[in-house]
Structures are given as structure tokens and as C-alpha cells.
Symmetry: C2
Subunit: 334 residues, 2 copies
DNA sequence: CGGAAAATCGCAAACGTTTCCGTTTTATTT
DNA sequence: AAATAAAACGGAAACGTTTGCGATTTTCCG
């Protein structure tokens, strides 16, 4: 369990450990012959530089903290995958923290990450309150928010153009012949507010009447969508399509519809938002709006690296374009 | 960006920084009055202990490395979720690394983790070769393998009783009246070898003939199962049920069956393995064998903590029990 | 061949903690 | 009240690295 240090290889090589350090770091002020000899020796002795000692003097850990409500979520785990890959390719390692459902834990992990001296923090907020919640720390360490719109907040973030997503989705339904489209979702976050707005804008342009179903539930899950849809379908159906604000909700709707023998897409078209992996499954085949997760993650770490390495102040709002994924739950009306 | 150190609050409190350190760590050799005064002061000044400096002297980072082939995978992200939560509740943070598809990268990240001085490593292997691949490092740092059986290898791991999983699944199909059950899957890892064995054992006990479909594909994905099933269904079907060695494969089979108008469960029953979240989705509703992911993750970090904190040598193989999840893809034969 | 510039390399400080050990102060006992 | 024990605190080393600066050696040119 005892690892070999610089001092050890210095002794073995008969030089000072400063020389070894310089040889490894490629300093020009070292003879190329001794350098090769030292490098070979390091390899033989199995030396790996101690990053915590290194971080201590460099005042830089090459560590970024990744905070997600729960990695156990298809959308976030995909973001995390690309974020970690991209970060590592640039020499950073990521510390993963689940912030869970409550703000207290979110604050706790951010504090923890600060103690760990991370160079930056990438956070997908668990609620719109996150911004206030961790405000005290965001000026102590470079931070970028991921996937959630902050609108006018003085914080850097990358997110998709949510408004545009629902806009193009609504337009698509219109082109399919739908004239009565129900918007199914909440507006508890800026993101969801924007999604609702995109739908409203499209309706206005196209001269469509707007139908809404809101919910007071605190989580947008399958179970949630199911419960809401059950109630919804017990009343007369005066619309031919549903725009669900999240894929999870759409999946819940699908379940309720199946149980109540409402044929999707036969009698009712359905479109979701997010393009989570499940939507592409056989028998599901849900038409939806894709968030470019890979691009989002990569841009976010690029943004963070810029803050870290160039000390870039200020903030930037990076808005990416969503795309329509046509699948099997939307039918052309005749 | 400049954080406050021990020295700073020591100066402000008019004591030595040794005293501050002791006050924070709850050392008994400090006056309760000065302790309170110092703690209050730390709070006011916003002091947080620098973990990298602390790690340096303590020779312990309270960090565990989590290596997964790709966090972008429902099964692994669920494991990761519970592992991180459990680890943090015991004072550890986790560094996440995707090892990707190739062994070289897996070795690279493990080496990296060692440089980071992690106290232990939790790894879900990407292939049976992983053991050999990182053997050089596993005696330098406590390591436990997760989710993959290593059989007789001198390494600690926690995994499900894969053999038992297929055994009970096969028995269940038998009780439903099925007499010709096709086993669909590979045996490229010990885990999958064991799954095949469980099926074989059940068949022997029940006096059933064994049917196999193997594959030479290197990844067990939906697409893979789909391709294999397409070919399979083009030939005469002389079995009434399929046991897919993974849920992913089962999903691929489902897709192929739908396309070729083979009714599941009407004409063919299907059972999977893993109980990944997608299987519980509406319209999918796949009968499967559950791996207790939460328990696996928690046990794995407990095991790792034991090695770290008590210096436990040797190795332990922790085998957990799988359970049958009855859903809608298996029909009782009349 | 002498001397100066260039090329190598070593010394030691610094990073922010924890903890051993010694010193000072306070409390207790005789 | 003096001696002794206990309690409270400070000094300083140590963890393993990077790097500025000085010291030493080599090289090179006139």
C-alpha cells in the first residue's frame, strides 16, 4: 500500500528530487540523457505522481464537481457520461454528487465540493430555487448550470431552446391536421414556463385555441402523468392531440390511454419532450423533441474550462437547438 | 477566489492555528469556551477545511473511485446512484470514471485514480479480461468488483446469484406449462456462463430438452437482440417461450416479434434478466429477473469500507438473491 | 587556453493541514 | 501555601510536490 515517491526515484537515480520532477514535467532545463534515464526509472519503479501533493502546491486540483439531482435518471446519466468523457479528455476528473430532492442536500454537496477544492462546478439544478440556494458559493468557484434555463440570472448556463421545442412540435401537429392540441404539463420552472410559451406562440400564429392541463404535483414522473391522464380521460375528449411537456409524462399518458382503451395514435396523437432513451423502445416509439445531450454536456465543460483556465468573468447563456424526432405516436388526420 | 485558511481564523481568534484545528476536530484538549468561540468565528468567516491539505497529512483522501463502462446505461447509473449516496453518508466522495469499451482506457482510469490517491476502487468490469487488465493495481489499493462474477478469482466482489436467476425463471415458465424453452444469449463472461448454467440445471431437473441460440456479437444490446431474433424467427418456431439472458436482448426480441407479427405473449412467452427500468414501462411490461441493485451497491461500498478502514485482507464473494418479477410477457399455457 | 555564456542541476521555501511534544496556566491536594 | 496534577494551548515537523534562484559544470568563442 506504500507508494513510491519522487524522493525514492531520486535516490535511485542519484539526483535530487527536483530534477525528477522537472524531468517528468518536461522542463527544458534538464539534460535529455538524464531525462530519459529518469523516465525509464520511473516506469520501472511504478511511480505515479501524487495528485494531492501536486494540487497542494499548484493550487489547482484539475477536478470538477458534477452535481445532479440523481444520476439514476436516463437524461442526467447521459449528460454525465458525455461530461465526464469530455472533462477527462482535457485533463480533468469529475467528482459525482447526487443532490437528491431537497435543497439542503444540494447545498451540502456544493459546500463539500468547495472543501475538496474543485476547480469548477457543473450543476444541473434540482429546482428553480437552486440558483438562490447556492448563490453564496457560485462566486467562490467557476460554476455553470446545465439543462435548466435561468433566463436573466447572472449565471452561465447551457440549455436547449425550450420554447422553440414546443413551437416546432406544435407546428408539426398542425401540419398533420390537428387543430385542437392539449398542452399537458406544469410551469414550475423557467424551463417549463418556456415550453408552455412555445406552445402558446405557435397556437397564436396558427390561430388555434389553447387547451391546458396543469398539475400541482411536485415531480414530473411517469406515475404523475398516469394519474393526471386517468382523470383527464374520464372527461370528454375534445382534442385530437396531446403535447406532453416531458417524455416521462407522455409515458404515463400512454399507460393511462392503453388502460382506458384510447388508441394512440389511432384516436389520439401524442408527442413528448426530451427524447429519453425509453422513447425509442419497441411498442413505445414516442414522437418527441430531442435535446442534444452530448452537445449540451460538451459545451458546458468547454464553458467551465474557459472560466477556469482563462479566468473568464461574466456569464454566457448558451442556447442549443432542439430537433423533432418523428416516430409512431402522431397520426396524420384525414 | 481566495479562501480563508486555518491561519486566518487563528489570527482573528488570537490563538495558534493548531488550536483552531483541534477545536474543529473536537479534540478534548481544548477549552469548551474557546472552542465555541472559534467555531462561531469559523462560521462567520466562512471557513471550510481544505481537504487536499488534510489528505496530504492524513494520508487518506476519503475518496473512492467508481469505474463503470458507461454511466450512460440504466443498470449502471442505478448502481452508481446508490453507491454514491451510500458512500457519502459514510464520509466518502466518489470520483466517476467511464472506462468505455476498451481495456486500455479502463487501465488508464484506474491508474489515474491511483494517482489521485483514492482510498479504494469500486469497479464494474467491462469484460472478463478486466481482472487481468488491472491486476497490477488491485494490490495497491482496496478494490471491489461489482455486478460481475469472478468465480474463483482472489478478488472481492458482490454480484447476484445469476445461476439461480435463470433457474427460478425457467421453473416459472415450466409451472406456466411451457415445455420447450429457448435460451437466448451468449456466454462471453462468467456471469453469462452462470446464467446459462442455471437454465441447464432447471431443464435437467424438470426433464426438459434444451434449446440454445448463441451469438458472436460483442455487445448485448437491443439492436443485437433484434438482429438475432429476426433471423431466429425466419425459421420454424418449435418452442413456446424464450429466456433472454438480458433485458436488452429481450427488448430487441420484442421489437422483432412485433414486426413479424408474432404475438407476445399470445403465441410466445418472453422473460428477461436484470429488471432495467425500461421493462416496467407501459406496453413493454416485461417479465424479468430482478437484480437488487440498491443492495448490491450498498454492500459493495460496505465491503470496500471494511477493507479501507479495518485493513481487512483476503477477499469475500458476496452473492445476493435475484427475484422473479412477474409482468405481462409470460402466458399460462392451456 | 582563459573566460564568459549556456546548460544542468541542487537547495529550500511554500502549499494548508494534523499531531506529537513541550510549555504555560489553572485547579487540586496536602 | 506549596507542591503536584490536570488542563489548555503553542511550536514545529511532516505529508509530497513544484519552482525560483543560486551553484556548479560544460560548452564555446576569440
Amino acid at each position: 500500500m506504500k507508494s513510491v515517491t519522487l524522493k525514492d526515484v531520486a535516490k535511485a537515480a542519484g539526483v535530487s528530487y527536483a530534477t525528477v520532477s522537472r524531468a517528468l514535467s518536461g522542463s527544458p532545463q534538464i539534460g535529455s540523457d538524464t531525462r530519459e534515464r529518469i523516465i525509464k526509472l520511473c516506469d520501472e519503479m511504478g511511480y505515479t505522481t501524487n495528485y494531492v501533493a501536486r494540487s497542494m502546491v499548484m493550487k489547482k486540483t484539475d477536478l470538477i464537481g458534477l452535481v445532479v439531482p440523481s444520476i439514476d435518471n436516463a437524461f442526467m446519466s447521459e449528460l454525465a457520461y458525455y461530461a465526464e468523457m469530455s472533462a477527462r479528455s482535457h485533463g480533468y476528473n469529475v467528482m459525482l454528487c447526487n443532490s437528491g430532492p431537497d435543497l439542503k442536500q444540494e447545498k451540502t454537496v456544493v459546500k463539500l465540493l468547495l472543501g475538496r477544492q474543485v476547480d469548477g462546478i457543473l450543476i444541473v439544478p434540482q429546482s428553480p430555487k437552486t440558483y438562490e440556494n447556492i448563490r453564496a458559493y457560485t462566486d467562490q468557484v467557476p460554476t455553470v448550470f446545465l439543462s435548466e434555463n435561468l433566463r436573466d440570472q447572472p449565471q452561465s448556463y447551457v440549455a436547449v431552446d425550450n420554447s422553440r421545442g414546443t413551437y416546432i412540435g406544435t407546428k408539426y401537429l398542425y401540419e398533420l391536421g390537428h387543430r385542437d392540441i392539449l398542452y399537458f404539463g406544469r410551469r414550475h420552472t423557467t424551463t417549463h414556463q418556456l415550453r408552455a410559451e412555445g406552445y402558446m406562440k405557435a397556437c397564436q400564429e396558427l390561430g388555434l385555441q389553447q387547451h391546458f392541463v396543469n398539475s400541482e404535483f411536485s415531480r414530473s414522473s411517469i406515475a404523475n402523468g398516469y394519474d393526471m391522464a386517468k382523470e383527464l380521460f374520464s372527461k370528454p375528449i375534445d382534442y385530437s392531440a396531446i403535447f406532453a411537456s416531458t417524455d416521462s409524462n407522455a409515458l404515463g399518458i400512454l399507460k393511462a390511454a392503453d388502460e382506458m382503451h384510447i388508441d394512440i395514435p389511432g384516436h389520439l396523437s401524442l408527442i413528448g419532450f426530451d427524447n429519453i432513451p425509453s422513447t425509442g423502445l419497441p411498442r413505445i416509439d414516442l414522437t418527441t423533441i430531442e435535446q442534444p445531450k452530448r452537445e449540451m454536456a460538451v459545451q458546458a465543460v468547454d464553458m467551465l474550462r474557459d472560466k477556469i483556465e482563462n479566468g473568464t468573468q461574466g456569464y454566457v447563456h448558451q442556447i442549443l437547438l432542439p430537433t423533432l424526432i418523428k416516430r409512431g405516436t402522431c397520426r396524420e388526420l384525414d
